[in-house]
């Protein structure tokens, strides 16, 4: 096929129509050592019914699961209308990841800087001192905490000079004045140790409190002087590490969800399951409503979903069962309801995984007719089916898988005569 550059393709309707709706390119899936699907190429034309057949374990359902986003392919791409089905990396996603990182960072930092101590320094200590914190003083108190400046706390009848988080007691005095004076002198000594002599008042400027300062071990003063550096280092490290972890986690989650089933469904590919998966506890109508509620994002808004849901149910022949619980329906009706729910998402491509499994000939014929009607209403169909008569009757094109490899492709008539296909199904003749 001639490939046109995307720009040209967009302009010309005819070229778009000639492109396949679904194009699977070199799809490979490995489960451990087992190659379930190997280099599968598959194109489904717009408006066609295509079938995927093959013996049990050939990899049909695995291929389906990759197309519908349930399994992640080891390699290969799936395109709808020439575009890869995946959530784009939008600015919203970017800023979301940044924000998650920031939030994680702040949480980790809150632990690292001891949020309990911050609370004491900013809220409780001022309250105890009789000067309720105001917005104006908030900044000053926070700065003081992060400079690791000494503070005065009361415990019973005594006043204590403590580290700002209140966890280490440096000295104890009987009166508040004594404690405050000592605190100022100690703080001056500590700051001098940190910033070098001459930058702040010397401890000796504080009169008799200075003697008390000399009574404090030099090692303690050194440790207090190092406090500012330590808490800032802790805080920033925690913030950065938390940011990295959070952002990485956010990105990983976003990336894994890029091609999740809901993204595929929103792009316009719906599916049914080999082992019917209905919302058993909900009514038939509700099952269809869920499909209508979400489903294909690009399609038109529906004004009266209840009405549309009823119509869809009627289309698959379940008009009388709308109010019954899905789990109570007869087997054939359950299969039909699953198709109705998939149709309710207003798909462009419908993947049907063995829709006639376990049905009697009359039901099978009815489903074949339904599939044709779906195709006629403009939905392209890709079918997995074991019932050869149905496949041959409804399909425009058939692909045959065996052991994960596509062994034949063509019209039903060509497939029926293909020797490789016959061999795959019946085995080789002994003679």
């Amino acid at each position: 096929m001639v490939r046109f550059p995307r720009r040209r393709r967009d302009r010309s309707l005819e070229q778009t129509a000639a492109d396949p709706l679904l194009s699977v390119d070199r799809l490979t899936v490995r489960f451990g050592g087992l190659v379930a699907v190997a280099d599968l190429d598959l194109d489904v034309e717009q408006g066609a019914i295509a079938s995927l057949i093959g013996p049990n374990g050939a990899g049909k359902t695995t291929a389906f699961n990759c197309i519908s986003g349930i399994n992640r392919p080891t390699r290969g791409t799936v395109r709808l209308d020439g575009r890869r089905v995946a959530r784009p990396f939008t600015p919203v996603a970017f800023w979301g990841i940044v924000a998650i990182g920031l939030l994680t960072g702040l949480l980790v930092a809150a632990v690292a800087i001891d949020i309990d101590g911050v609370w004491l320094a900013v809220v409780k200590r001022p309250m105890a001192a009789g000067e309720p914190p105001r917005a104006a003083t908030l900044g000053r108190r926070l700065r003081s905490y992060f400079r690791w400046e000494l503070a005065v706390d009361r415990l019973g009848a005594s006043w204590r000079v403590v580290t700002p988080d209140g966890r280490e007691v440096v000295a104890i005095r009987r009166s508040r004045e004594d404690a405050s004076r000592l605190r100022d002198a100690l703080q001056a000594a500590v700051t001098a140790r940190r910033a070098g002599p001459g930058t702040v008042p010397e401890a000796t400027d504080f009169g008799d409190a200075a003697d008390a300062v000399h009574a404090v071990d030099g090692e303690v003063l050194d440790r207090l002087a190092a406090g500012k550096r330590a808490i800032r280092l802790r805080g920033w490290t925690a913030l950065a590490a938390g940011w990295l972890v959070g952002a990485a986690g956010g990105y990983a989650v976003w990336r894994r969800g890029r091609r999740s089933p809901e993204v595929v469904a929103a792009a316009g590919i719906a599916r049914t399951f080999q082992n019917i998966r209905l919302f058993e506890g909900m009514t038939a109508l509700e099952n269809v409503r869920v499909g209508l509620d979400w489903g294909h994002r690009g399609s038109r808004r529906i004004d009266d979903p209840e009405q549309v849901a009823t119509e869809i149910l009627a289309k698959v022949g379940l008009a009388g069962e709308a109010g019954r619980r899905a789990g109570e329906l007869a087997y054939g009706d359950r299969r039909r309801l699953e198709i109705a729910r998939a149709l309710a998402t207003r798909p462009r491509l419908l993947l049907l995984d063995e829709p006639t499994a376990g049905m009697n000939p009359a039901e099978t014929a009815a489903v074949a007719e339904l599939i044709r009607q779906i195709r006629d209403s403009g939905v392209t169909v890709l079918l997995i089916e074991h019932h050869m008569q149905t496949v041959m009757r409804v399909s425009d094109r058939v692909s045959v898988l065996d052991h994960g490899v596509k062994i034949a492709e063509g019209t039903p008539r060509e497939i029926r005569r293909d020797e490789r296909v016959i061999k795959a199904y019946l085995g080789e003749a002994e003679a």
Binding site: S68, D116, G117, P261, R277, F279, E280, R289, H296
Partner: protein
């Protein structure tokens, strides 16, 4: 869900007519005027019952609506309570009015719920249950150890009554709330009514249907385009917000946060039992479950004790002869009998959600 159960599909557009909610609400609202004991100690006990009903409804959003086994609802209850307490107690500088503090409690609890949910969205069944269990324990221990913020084992208090320092028409509301338990009764009832009607609306909404779809079959829901992650996040946020509201009311009605052990695993399990007893996913069922389990615990047991003493069967006050000494045994028996004869709960939903979330691996096709 508000959907017709008769076959006529067109009726589905209308809501299911309100059958029991309104009469029940009216009855509960006028009861304190007619029944004198509700103006006394009994009124306070029934108020607590209402608050637990709100908490159980919060849990029902997770377990019943969305099918996520949540074992840490009490933690969100506690977060809401502590938030409200921090913002209102006179020993701290904030002193917010009750309505603002309640709003903040709801918001903070919802945020905490999102924080719990975001990293765990990909977990299913048992694994998620274990995470919520762990979350509950972590919050309890954090509440205990952040002593400056939460007051440690003493908790925070005194939490002022709603409407403190508020005068309307010459009535000092704050005083009224202290003197007359009926005020709080009505406040809790109004909150409960708001939550019930909100959840009724949720059940019939697009989001509610998506939650139900996720509960029924997560993979199939995703395959029809339901954004499973976002639906779960919404469920966590809604449930946590309601639990936060309950916590705020609880703390205000006790006028203290009590100690962090009030918000432990036992409370979560009691709520879970109430939801299961009443019928998973069913709003009237949840209310009935709470009325029976918590009502038994806080209203009936003390009364039975008093009666036993009165008739002279237990004059010494021994716990073996008292009724409340046996209440946990009765409690267990009731649950066992229920599970044997009516596993779907007392008032199950029509949709038959009456089963616990499936075990871990309900998964890949």
């Amino acid at each position: 869900m508000a959907v017709p159960h008769d076959a006529s599909a067109s009726a589905g557009r209308r809501r299911r007519p309100v059958r029991w909610e309104l009469p029940a609400l009216v009855a509960a609202a006028v009861a304190p005027l007619l029944v004198p004991p509700l103006g006394g100690g009994l009124g306070g006990q029934v108020t607590i019952l209402f608050i637990y009903a709100i908490l159980a409804l919060a849990l029902n959003v997770m377990v019943g609506f969305t099918g996520i086994l949540h074992l840490g609802i009490a933690a969100l209850f506690g977060i809401g309570g502590y938030t409200a307490a921090i913002l209102t107690v006179p020993t701290l500088p904030f002193g917010w009015p009750f309505a603002a503090a309640a709003t903040a409690a709801v918001a903070v609890a919802a945020g905490a719920g999102l924080l719990l949910a975001a990293p765990t969205l990909r977990l299913r069944g048992d694994y998620l249950a274990i995470v919520t269990l762990g979350f509950g324990e972590v919050v309890k221990v954090a509440l205990r150890n952040l002593e400056e913020i939460t007051g440690g084992m003493q908790g925070l208090g005194p939490v002022p009554p709603p409407g403190a320092a508020l005068e309307i028409g010459g009535i000092d509301l704050g005083r009224e709330f202290v003197v007359d338990p009926r005020w709080f009764y009505w406040l809790a009832l109004a909150a409960l009514a708001a939550v019930v009607s909100g959840l009724r609306w949720l059940e019939g909404s697009r989001l509610g249907r998506a939650m139900a779809a996720v509960r029924e079959d997560e993979l199939a829901a995703a395959a029809v385009g339901v954004p499973v992650g976002r639906v779960k996040l919404a469920a966590f946020a809604i449930s946590s917000a309601i639990a936060g509201l309950a916590g705020c009311l609880y703390v205000t009605s006790l006028s203290t946060t009590a100690d962090p052990n009030t918000y432990d695993f036992q409370r979560s399990v009691l709520m879970l039992c109430a939801v299961i007893l009443g019928g998973l996913g069913s709003i009237p069922g949840t209310l009935a479950g709470v009325a029976i389990l918590v009502g038994f615990d806080t209203v009936l047991a003390p009364r039975a004790d008093a009666w036993l003493q009165q008739v002279g069967l237990n004059t010494t006050g021994s716990s073996i002869l008292s009724f409340s000494g046996w209440r946990l045994a009765v409690f267990g028996m009731v649950l066992i009998v229920m599970m044997r004869f009516r596993p779907e709960g007392l008032l199950p939903t029509r949709r038959g959600a009456g089963k616990l979330p499936p075990a871990a691996g309900n998964s890949e096709n």
